[in-house]
């Protein structure tokens, strides 16, 4: 990826959040993705979410694999540590990083090539372990870097830019995440920032494995007639089950959705998710129902978006492992090395 530094000058009256940061402080280098790429919209949504949540940028660790989507962490949170790992293996690296320091916020960014093919196993196992992270798949259903091959999330029957029909069934990462035990599952669309930003905010605040499948059209290779991941197709077939707002524990927030039934879900950190129902019968606390709903709508050709499932009582991998409160990378020698006296006892037992 090319590193292009952004100009340091910015408008002196940019709004600041409670930490004194402006939105610019959450940006990274200039994107080198194609103009109009959905991934850039997602980067922008991440920037907005982190800014609005008043997150210290340096406390977020951003990790990715390989591919167009995996380049994007360079384009946001420039003061954060980032790690562009290897193809499909970001989940294990993120897991290790999380084990080392439970106090940081972990943001994994991946693509459909990265997560649904070579990385399917690692995606599955990071989710089932309940690693405390927000895992975003920027899903364009195509290999952009290698110029337009189908990916594993390409829908059966959809066509490539050259008109070739995909005969393989597409992998539904949302369905997988639900089955694997993710405790926060959402789908969104890069072209719907009003929906995406709150979903990212809630995912970042969620304790446990949070997953967002974000359909992100590839303007170069998968934004044509016959694609089911194009801007037009998703706009026409999108069925949002709810609209979300996030109320952090520290401050008030205005809810700007239309009146209607609203469900409030409290999270571990004190934040409240305010869910405005669009689909009358949809219950985001029921994993089995979510799966059935998704499959029924998918059969009708609809793309269900919104917060699909949340477990407000979720835990994470550190809970399972019962690790100490102090991050492991901050334990001192006295905490780690048992010393010569303990060794003498071990020696005695080995004679």
């Amino acid at each position: 990826m090319t590193y292009i530094t952004k100009p340091q000058l910015h408008h002196p009256l940019l709004a600041e959040n409670s930490l004194g940061f402006t939105r610019r402080d959450y940006e990274g280098s200039v994107s080198t993705l194609c103009a109009g790429c959905g991934h850039d919209s997602i980067s922008s949504a991440i920037i907005q979410a982190c800014f609005e949540l008043d997150l210290p940028p340096h406390r977020i660790a951003k990790l990715s694999g390989i591919g167009c989507s995996s380049k994007t962490p360079d384009y946001f949170l420039g003061a954060s540590h980032g790690f562009n790992t290897v193809h499909g293996r970001m989940p294990s690296v993120l897991t290790g990083a999380n084990l080392a320091n439970k106090d940081l916020i972990y943001l994994g960014v991946s693509g459909d090539g990265d997560s649904a093919s070579i990385g399917l196993g690692q995606f599955a196992h990071a989710v089932r372990r309940g690693v405390n992270m927000l895992y975003i798949v920027e899903n364009n259903g195509v290999y952009g870097l290698t110029k337009g091959q189908f990916s594993a999330t390409s829908d059966k029957g959809s066509k490539s830019k050259r008109g070739v029909v995909n005969h393989d069934a597409g992998i539904d990462l949302v369905g997988m995440a639900l089955q694997l035990g993710a405790t926060y599952v959402a789908r969104s669309f890069s072209g719907d920032k009003a929906q995406l930003v709150p979903l990212i905010k809630a995912g970042l605040m969620h304790k446990g494995a949070a997953f967002i499948d974000c359909i992100s059209p590839c303007v170069q290779f998968n934004n044509h007639q016959g694609s089911t991941k194009s801007f037009d197709y998703v706009r026409e077939h999108n069925e949002a089950v709810n609209r979300l707002d996030v109320i952090p524990p520290r401050g008030p927030i205005s809810v700007d959705y239309a009146p209607g039934e609203t469900v409030k879900v409290a999270q571990h950190d004190g934040s409240v998710l305010s869910l405005h129902k669009l689909a009358e019968l949809y219950n985001p606390n029921n994993r089995a129902q979510a799966l059935g709903y998704l499959q029924a709508r998918q059969a009708r050709g609809q793309v269900v978006t919104g917060l699909l499932y949340i477990d407000p009582d979720s835990g994470d991998l550190h809970d399972s492992l019962e690790t100490v409160d102090t991050p492991l990378n901050q334990l001192g020698q006295a905490d780690l090395v048992p010393g010569s006296a303990a060794l003498a006892a071990i020696n005695a037992a080995l004679r």
Partner: protein
């Protein structure tokens, strides 16, 4: 009957031939340990198949008051409990030796040899009479033969009883039943047979040494080295290392409130294991995985990333027969090249080469200091022989004044003070840059880690000069590593000699015994035991200082020899391979025989 041999006290080899799954391992191990408890050193080797049950398995116990801890070669007493391997087992007995067998079913004379003494005990008949359940008959048969052997070899029954008490602590019924079986065998021999001319006598030759597996020792080393994250995937022969680490952590690293100062994940595969290690290392925790050659193959992409992105990681490679899945439960030293150059592109990785469990502990701890200091993957190269066999070794020792070396980590305060931070800047000229832990400072020290080329400030760059500069710095770092790796240990021959021998790892005890045997034959060889890679200048000086250097190793292709040629530019003609790779631990006889033969041939050629 052959002429009886002179009684040999505390110096003989007993080999048990069993069927895998018959429950013999525990009884055989107790036999070895009972001799050890009598103050007589033992060297025990478990040779087992890669199946659950049915195939042949052997357990060889060398009783050696002289303290030889390698395999000698040859068998003085064969405990032949496996009809499948009878002929091979009988053939392996030294002339004048003994064959112990279950004589419940008589065998024709053709199944024996006339230069050995045959001892029959009707084990099956005794057990059938004493026990009702088939499993009991099988399991107690093992204890019965241990009792019989105790009587034949003069082992103190009380010592074995004590071991049974320790093994089944708190289970009185089991202790009583086992003690009864033990006495059944012992009484039969006392009443019907004469003691052998192989005898165990109490001695004081064990000292303060401990008896432990290398895997367990290495795991303890990881605890003392400050490892907090372990990610692993089960694979013989490394599994017991992760399991031992778990056990030690539960005992030694649990908070008073029951919380863990460690995290252990059984990953979904080897790739995820090393990925977790790399992630944890990147984030400032000491992390490791343990595996074997096939696992290293799968991990290579990440190992390359660790090399290029400069992230600390430790891999315990417990080597076994290869290539591919090879002989999963047989020992070899066949991963040297695979580990040293693991991954695509130009990579080199430090390796530590422990020779016994004592060094497994020391190097197990040291590896984490080196990984942090060098910011790279460090391999600890065990093998199945060290890893899964119990060895008599020096007691573990730890200097409480020793501080863990976390390497070059720029702190919040240093960043705050305005120190220039360039992730890949060679500030000190040793090739090692400074790093920061994620989250350390609100505005300074953040950087992007990537596998692609970058400049000293971690900014992506495909400039050829930038890339070359970075690769040259990595070489400088590897040079720095030479001074940090444990130095080789030289053992001079009694007389000045143009011949040298280089060896490492589990070959060591057999090598030392072979050197003594060669000295006894008037063949003098200077010896150098390697303890790590990259090779220090002392290694190259040793090679340069001898006309001919034997390189003893347990693989087919002479991998250490290749590394010496490759890294040291040594003339291949100067390095004479001595190779043993049938999957069994190398013996002193093999080494001495091979070197003597090679020296004799050279003498003949010189005379011609």
């Amino acid at each position: 009957m052959p002429e009886p041999v002179k009684t040999r006290v505390n110096d003989f080899v007993v080999k048990f031939a069993n069927v895998n799954g018959s429950g013999s391992a525990s009884a055989n191990g107790m036999f070895a340990k009972s001799i050890l408890r009598m103050g007589v050193p033992v060297a025990a080797r478990n040779i087992f198949p890669s199946n659950i049950q049915g195939l042949p398995t052997w357990f060889e116990v060398r009783v050696t008051e002289a303290g030889h801890l390698g395999r000698r070669g040859g068998v003085d007493l064969m405990v032949a409990m496996n009809p499948q391997t009878w002929d091979k087992d009988v053939a392996e007995i030294e002339a004048g030796g003994y064959l112990f067998y279950d004589c419940t079913k008589p065998l024709p004379a053709a199944k024996f040899r006339n230069d050995i003494t045959v001892i029959g005990v009707p084990l099956t008949a005794m057990c059938n009479a004493a026990y009702q359940l088939p499993r009991e008959r099988q399991l107690f048969k093992n204890i019965v033969y241990v009792g019989a052997l105790a009587a034949l070899l003069g082992i103190d029954l009380a010592v074995i009883e004590q071991l049974l008490g320790e093994q089944f602590e708190g289970r009185a019924k089991l202790i009583a039943a086992n003690v009864a079986a033990l006495h059944m065998g012992h009484d039969y021999v006392t009443e019907n047979l004469e003691p052998l001319r192989l005898q165990v006598r109490r001695a004081d030759a064990v000292g303060d040494r401990i008896y432990v597996e290398g895997n367990s020792a290495a795991a303890l080393g990881a605890v003392y080295g400050g490892a907090t994250v372990c990610a692993w995937y089960p694979i013989t022969p490394s599994t017991s290392l992760a399991e031992a680490f778990t056990g030690y952590c539960e005992d030694l690293r649990t908070d008073p409130d029951g919380k863990a100062r460690y995290a252990i994940v059984q990953a979904e595969d080897e790739i995820a294991s090393i990925g977790i290690v790399v992630g944890a290392g990147w984030n400032g925790a000491r992390a490791f995985t343990c595996t074997s050659g096939p696992g290293v193959s799968l991990m290579t992409e990440f190992i390359g990333l660790s090399y290029f992105a400069e992230i600390p990681a430790v891999i315990f490679d417990v080597q076994r027969g290869g290539p591919s899945t090879g002989m999963p439960t047989r020992t070899q030293q066949a991963d040297l090249i695979g580990a040293a150059y693991a991954s695509h592109g130009d990579t080199k990785h430090p390796m530590l080469l422990p020779a016994d469990p004592g060094e497994c502990f020391e190097m197990g701890a040291l590896a984490f200091d080196l990984a942090d200091r060098l910011q790279t993957t460090v391999f600890v190269m065990l093998d199945l022989d060290i890893g899964m066999n119990e060895w008599l070794t020096k007691p573990f020792a730890w200097d409480d004044a020793r501080a863990l070396d976390r390497g070059k980590v720029m702190t919040h305060d240093e960043l705050e003070a305005g120190k220039d931070f360039g992730r890949y800047l060679d500030v000190d000229g040793d090739g090692i840059p400074y790093r920061t832990y994620p989250g350390v400072h609100p505005s300074r020290g953040g950087y992007f880690t990537r596998g692609t080329s970058r400049n000293p400030y971690a900014r992506y760059s495909e400039e050829g000069a930038v890339y070359v500069d970075n690769m040259q710095r990595l070489l400088r770092k590897f040079e720095t590593a030479k001074a940090l790796i444990p130095p080789p240990i030289e053992r001079k021959a009694r007389r000045k000699t143009p011949d040298g021998v280089i060896y490492f790892g589990s070959t060591t005890p057999a090598m030392h015994e072979a050197l003594e045997a060669l000295e006894g034959q008037g063949r003098h060889v200077d010896a150098l035991r390697l303890r790590g890679f990259p090779f220090s200048n002392e290694v190259m000086a040793f090679v340069a200082g001898h006309e001919r250097v034997f390189v003893v190793e347990q693989n087919r292709d002479g991998q250490l020899r290749t590394l010496l040629m490759n890294e040291g530019g040594v003339d291949p003609a100067k390095l004479v391979p001595v190779l043993h790779y049938d999957g069994t631990p190398i013996t002193a006889r093999f080494i001495a025989g091979q070197i003597a033969q090679l020296m004799a041939m050279a003498q003949i050629e010189a005379a011609e």
